[in-house]
Symmetry: C2
Subunit: 306 residues, 2 copies
């Protein structure tokens, strides 16, 4: 089964606590790592979770608040010291590219890897694509320009049905096109439909990351039907007014987004430092959407297992 | 006894490890906190060691390598969120003031405290003074401009000898000038020498911080006779060549500095990530200077207790 794994490195909000680290997640897409937000301490948490920086080539920064990007400097410096090669692309708003570009040119001048900035804005757009996945942005509603990220696996290869292939004497060199969904033509010219020779591929999974945002119908539209939704849940019910004021969400609102959008699983994070534990927030969300989990640093989710 | 306490928040070197955090120390000078270098994670370590940011008003940055200053952004942002008032002064080289100034003006615009930069250079100079302490810079030898910091307690007040004061009927309002070292004149005009009415004050303690530097005779001169010396000890004997090349010191060289300068206590830190534990480095230093300790995150030293 293709690897599509989500690692939670930080799920706190702006104020540092000993309970949570600031926002950071790492997606493992078939061995390639992609970081989503990069709060202070991200590089240490990578180490703690045994995620190899050498495999990290894309970093997606949702918005320019410090708790989502202050870890970039340390992480990128350590990657340089470790001799990482290839390219590292930071997908970030323009102002961030300028500021971090200057800092890194001063503090991390000698880089064995090529550093690229891919400037994003709040429009809906595909910002990354490879053979396994597409990543797109969608606008969310926060105090500063901010986007959500949608990670969508591409259709996976079908599985060979070995028995059926033996029956039709399908040669090895034809297997690849079978996996892609092509029919097989025998030497005698008979067309064997692909469906007779292969089994269905695993479904392609989608994951949407929404932090930071207030409850918003446009977010609901953007994440409609995704398999996994991470939605910020900074506050509990009692702070709904503050949530609106600061353009954040309550756990219950996150669950409403999940329910309205018809997602399969909901992950909650970005917890305010005022909460000692996230059980209450989880409960409030589960009242609306039972399939909700409050995440924690160190957790790993196999996104293929719904 | 006056408080003069050193807290070790980080004593690793540039590469992040799970063993050590990057350079950071906090001096508690009679309840006022002063930070020396500010590696990534400093704010969390402050919290872990129960050091209150509200008492922190001076941050001294020895040089512009990331492992000595990347924690500034998170720390200063959290201090703003916590509503810290007063002034925070960062003593830093010019380039650092410019870069961090820009970052903070973007990421931490609303500051309830006044942020000041005090530009330092590699000359020997007093850069801070209050009623308890003076802080001065001295040049060290690293790959980039870098200074050591010398923290020197001012002379302390003498102690009242209550028995002697009763004998001479010294009134309460005269006590303060006695503590300053003045003689006492009785209503009848007799001069009682201060030494008869008071006991010696505790000695004024000095602490020198030297990171990063190669072994250098000018460092020896600068720290001559200090009570406590923190000297970097990045490498062990076997890496002496690399130490010279990278303008760092071995633990043995740090001990040589301590011995030549006639200091009382030596603290070792800034350990390379290649060492799993610092016992070996401590041993090598102790062969030259027995009163040497390899520090660790979370350690606290009462500098008055030599």
């Amino acid at each position: 089964m293709a690897e599509f794994e989500l690692n939670i490195l930080g799920c706190g909000s702006a104020k540092a606590t000993l309970q949570h680290l600031p926002s950071c997640q790492v997606l493992n897409v078939r061995g390639r790592l992609m970081m989503i937000d990069c709060g202070e301490g991200a590089q240490l948490e990578m180490r703690r979770m045994r995620l190899k920086c050498s495999r990290l080539n894309n970093i997606f920064i949702s918005h320019l608040h410090g708790d989502h990007c202050f870890g970039l400097l340390g992480l990128l410096s350590t990657m340089a010291l470790n001799g990482k090669g290839g390219t590292v692309t930071i997908h970030i708003f323009k102002g961030g590219a300028e500021l971090f570009g200057k800092m890194l040119d001063f503090f991390c001048r000698e880089r064995p890897y090529e550093l690229k900035f891919n400037i994003i804005d709040t429009r809906k757009a595909v910002i990354y694509e490879d053979n396994a996945i597409t990543v797109s942005t969608f606008p969310v509603t926060h105090r500063v320009p901010c986007v959500g990220f949608l990670f969508k696996e591409k259709p996976k290869q079908r599985h060979i049905n070995p028995e059926a292939c033996r029956r039709y004497d399908v040669p090895i060199h034809a297997m690849n096109s079978l996996r892609q969904g092509c029919d097989y033509v025998t030497p005698g010219g008979i067309v064997v439909p692909n469906s007779e020779l292969t089994l269905d591929a695993e479904p392609s999974i989608s994951y949407a990351y929404c932090a930071d945002t207030k409850y918003s119908t446009r977010v609901i539209k953007a994440v409609e039907g995704v398999d996994w939704l991470y939605h910020e849940a900074t506050y509990g019910d009692e702070k709904e007014k503050i949530a609106i004021q600061r353009r954040h969400s309550t756990a219950r609102q996150a669950a409403m987004v999940a329910r309205e959008a018809g997602v399969k699983r909901l992950l909650l994070g970005h917890f305010s430092s005022r909460y000692d534990g996230s059980q209450l927030l989880e409960q409030q969300a589960q009242e609306v959407f039972p399939n909700a989990i409050a995440v924690k640093e160190g957790m790993t989710f196999d996104l293929n297992k719904l």
